[in-house]
């Protein structure tokens, strides 16, 4: 079932086209990630889905509702962590969460106050429960934003760069939280700069640049479709280059490192056979396999060089 349907969505700021006629759907229970460089249009896209920015043209359906017209109806069902989350300087995580619990709950006649301690523990903010917002660290503020988005156990979550500014350990614990939410059947829209994050968490990734999707697929499919064969990299003397080219290999030389494309893993053995037969010595070697990161850099780089998608 499609929880989100976006059709021909465009957003202009004056002359700038921040989002350029994009189309996509998000299925129930998946983690859908928008990945792209600064200014790609991720936040603009997400905020149009949240109903806090107006689309210039195009249509968005969220849980079958219109994000702007049905803004009030959607409150109880969506959780939102904005990219630049801030709260009242002199309020504490506990005050903020209990305010959210009461107001969000008032709609359904429930009170989420009982969830507060659980959520604080989940995002690891229990010891800062009574610290003024202005005295929280950047990462702790971010964690509070996530906690607020989760307090009413929403079926759809918008997380705009949830782990930016967090230390590696905190990032991992946030990933665990996100995985657990997914396990409970919730749908998550996740924007990120971190390719490992998208690769690790997302079911599907849309790589965005200059307001358009360069590609939209599962991380595995993106990597294999834009895949460069595995490469063997050998460090050592210059004779590596000559003896391997003489043997018919395509070798790229780069500052004492020699890169040879492998059609299959067994080829590695024959390369070293050639070197041994020629009495060529080497210091070190390793295999390099494409990750989403390489694909991303290559895809976005290609787009940027040409100025547009081909």
């Amino acid at each position: 079932m499609d929880i989100i349907v976006v059709k021909n969505l465009t957003k202009r700021y004056g002359k700038l086209i921040a989002v350029d006629n994009i189309n996509f759907t998000v299925h129930k229970g998946e983690i859908f990630s928008l990945l792209g460089p600064n200014g790609a249009g991720k936040t603009t896209t997400v905020e149009m889905m949240e109903g806090i920015r107006k689309a210039t043209t195009g249509s968005i359906s969220i849980l079958g509702l219109d994000p702007i017209k049905d803004f009030a109806k959607l409150r109880g069902r969506c959780g939102i962590l904005p990219q630049d989350f801030k709260f009242i300087d002199n309020s504490t995580p506990y005050d903020a969460l209990s305010f959210y619990s009461q107001v969000l709950g008032s709609k359904k006649g429930v009170d989420y106050t009982d969830n507060i301690d659980d959520i604080l523990r989940k995002v690891d903010l229990m010891d800062k429960k009574s610290t003024s917002f202005k005295n929280l660290s950047g990462g702790q503020k971010q964690k509070l934003g996530l906690a607020l988005a989760l307090i009413n156990d929403p079926e759809l979550l918008f997380l705009d760069e949830p782990t930016t500014g967090l230390d590696p350990q905190a990032r991992r614990s946030i990933w665990d939280v996100i995985r657990e939410i997914k396990k409970n059947g919730k749908t998550i829209i996740l924007t990120t700069h971190y390719l490992d994050e998208a690769e690790l968490l997302a079911d599907r990734v849309g790589i965005v640049n200059k307001g358009k999707f360069i590609t939209l697929d599962s991380p595995n499919n993106i990597v294999s479709a834009n895949h460069i064969p595995d490469r063997l990299i050998i460090k050592g003397s210059e004779r590596i280059y000559s003896s391997l080219t003489d043997a018919g290999y395509n070798v790229r030389s780069d500052d004492g490192m020699y890169e040879i494309l492998m059609k299959n893993p067994t080829e590695v053995a024959s390369v070293f056979d050639v070197l041994r037969n020629n009495n060529v010595t080497w210091n070190d070697f390793f295999m390099k396999r494409d990750s989403l990161e390489d694909v991303f850099v290559r895809l976005v780089g290609k787009v940027n060089e040409k100025g547009d998608v081909s």
Binding site: I52, R53, K54, F71, A72, R75, G76, I80, P82, D84, F85, K86, F87, I88, D89, N90, S91, T92, D95, A96, S98, F99, Y100, Q102, V103, L104, S106, K107, S132, L148
Partner: protein, 366 residues
């Protein structure tokens, strides 16, 4: 509009307010400090007395009865100085603002039915000089009547307007209560641009809180904090200076009505001013631009009646004038008719400003 949401916001706001010491200082302690300051400046407590230095160059029953008349007016503390000193120097050395010379020809002229002049010196800038001259003039007229043997055709019996004569500090209490009304404006003048910048209104909207729930919460908050500030003010005025107020159910209800209407007006004004403020400098400039004229021309620090007429005209355009006047009429003069008139004007201004503010103020940043 859900009152439960209003209450939740109110609780959130009060809790964060309690953590901000500077706000508590400005809203509650500052008016009290001003009151103590005024109170000690006018520590005499009674009606103001002007010391007048008198040099009598023409001692006679006539001149002494004139001096006696001044003394009895109750306005002057008469200070007779010897005829050998220069009275102007004496006055300035002793910081006396009023001085009078009864010239040598005074008695002679009076006996011979010529006009007997006295010479009055005062400091032109002194706020009481007009009143002093008036009283001098009165004493002189009485003496004229007496000596010309005419029966007065018109007289005035005094019936005290007030049960007990108001003390100077009494006049400052309604003024300072007016001052606390400005808090509601400052709360929003700072809050609106700040919350817009930090996108806290957006954050509120994610919870389903509505703009009107937020606004009602804010106005209730302003009302509570103003009541608290006023209660502290009245208590200090009473405990430290023995201020006597006109207390009755009607005066209480009318005062509350004036306070509520004024808070609605000032909250709306704060929203409008906050909307046009883009950064902290504009907030400060705008705040001062609104604060200073109101503080000095609305009767907060000086009674409007003491001002020259062109400034009084300006003050008629300042809404706070009506709040202060209204409180003044109720609490000091027991004049409910006048207070209702002021209340009417405040309500009209408040409704207009409020409608404008709420219709052009949006939570969305776009």
């Amino acid at each position: 509009m859900k009152f439960k949401n209003v209450k939740s916001y109110l609780v959130l706001h009060i809790k964060s307010y309690m953590r901000s010491r500077s706000a508590i200082f400005f809203q509650i302690l500052f008016p009290v400090i001003l009151m103590l300051l005024f109170g000690s400046i006018f520590s005499g407590g009674g009606t103001s007395h002007t010391t007048i230095a008198i040099q009598n160059m023409s001692p006679s029953p006539a001149s002494w009865s004139f001096i006696n008349g001044l003394n009895k007016s109750g306005v002057f503390t008469v200070n007779i100085i010897s005829s050998s000193i220069n009275i102007k120097n004496y006055a300035s050395e002793h910081s006396i603002n009023s001085a009078l010379i009864i010239p040598q020809n005074f008695t002679y002229n009076m006996i011979n039915h010529k006009i007997a002049y006295v010479i009055y010196y005062d400091v032109p800038g002194d706020s009481t000089s007009a009143i002093n001259q008036q009283i001098l003039q009165n004493v002189i007229s009485n003496i004229n009547l007496h000596y010309s043997n005419t029966t007065p055709v018109m007289g005035m019996t005094t019936d005290p307007i007030l049960n007990s004569a108001p003390k100077t500090i009494d006049y400052y209490l309604p003024g300072l209560m007016g001052f606390t009304l400005l808090n509601s404006m400052f709360t929003l003048l700072y809050q609106v641009p700040n919350y817009k910048k930090d996108k806290i209104f957006r954050q509120f909207s994610f919870t389903g809180l509505t703009k009107s729930e937020w606004l009602l919460g804010t106005i209730i908050w302003s009302f509570l904090i103003t009541l608290l500030a006023d209660a502290v003010l009245i208590y200090v005025a009473y405990a430290a200076f023995g201020v006597t107020l006109n207390v009755s159910a009607v005066s209480f209800a009318l005062s509350l009505a004036i306070i509520i209407a004024s808070i609605i007006f000032f909250s709306a004004l704060g929203i409008l001013a906050g909307m046009v403020s883009e950064n902290e400098e504009t907030v400060t400039v705008l705040g001062n631009l609104i604060l200073f004229p109101m503080m000095f021309l609305s009767g907060v620090f000086f009674p409007v009646t003491m001002m020259p007429s062109y400034l009084r005209q300006v003050s008629e355009f300042l809404p706070l004038t009506y709040s202060v006047n209204g409180l003044y009429s109720i609490l000091i003069f027991n004049n409910f008719g006048m207070a209702l008139y002021d209340l009417g004007i405040i309500i009209i201004i408040a409704v207009i400003t409020f409608v404008v503010a709420i219709s052009i103020f949006s939570w969305k940043s776009e």
